[in-house]
Symmetry: C2
Subunit: 125 residues, 2 copies
């Protein structure tokens, strides 16, 4: 059912992402907000935002879930098979625009891909 009331907390959490394609963890979001919003609330807001297709989530490295605003996938086709990238220099986690070709294999029928890449981002290069 998603979001039904536009509360202060909701706006604060959503605006924490800005316009960028940077992915944030709950801890990072709360840091940006000065811990003003209760962590349970942040989790629940992100759940609702995801339900409504406003953000998507994926798990990063150390068993931490990241959330990012949906940019490309506004409409019907919520294709979140796009790769995510972690810059080892600035530590940012970003959504990549690039399409991913699902590796076709004789043995496996692949329907979903979670691709987490590491390396150096454009700004740190």
């Amino acid at each position: 059912m998603g979001i039904q009331r536009k509360t202060k907390s909701l706006q604060a959490v959503y605006e924490a992402f800005g316009d960028s394609n940077e992915a944030l963890s709950v801890k990072m979001i709360r840091d940006r907000l000065g811990e003003s919003v209760n962590k349970t609330t942040v989790y629940r807001l992100l759940d609702r935002l995801e339900e409504d297709g406003m953000v998507h989530s994926f798990s990063g490295e150390d068993s931490v879930t990241f959330y990012a605003r949906c940019h490309a996938c506004k409409g019907v086709s919520h294709d979140h098979n796009h790769p995510h990238f972690n810059c080892v220099s600035c530590d940012k986690v970003l959504c990549m625009e690039e399409e991913v070709v699902l590796p076709l294999s004789g043995k496996f029928k692949v329907t979903e891909a979670r691709i987490f890449l590491k390396g150096i981002c454009a700004e740190c290069a």
Copy 2:
């Protein structure tokens, strides 16, 4: 420094993998062993086995770390960029032999890839 003593616990944990390319979580390993080995010990054994290149680890879906025996990567080139596959039918997590072409991009310098695929495995097809 890795493993220095071939203890009963070590053999039990290592043999839990069998010859297959199936990946196991600590919980799964302990279930197979009838909880006979303390969980701290299992974590430490897996750390040492990984240090010695006998197993490799990667994070699965729900913030659970999986471990699998190293098959292809016996020698010097410990290339663990191979994909891992989760069958949604039998729930098994498997190492895939297939090579994956890293998505080259102008913006990002990719050096490492964690690829987690979902779908239907050969036996469940």
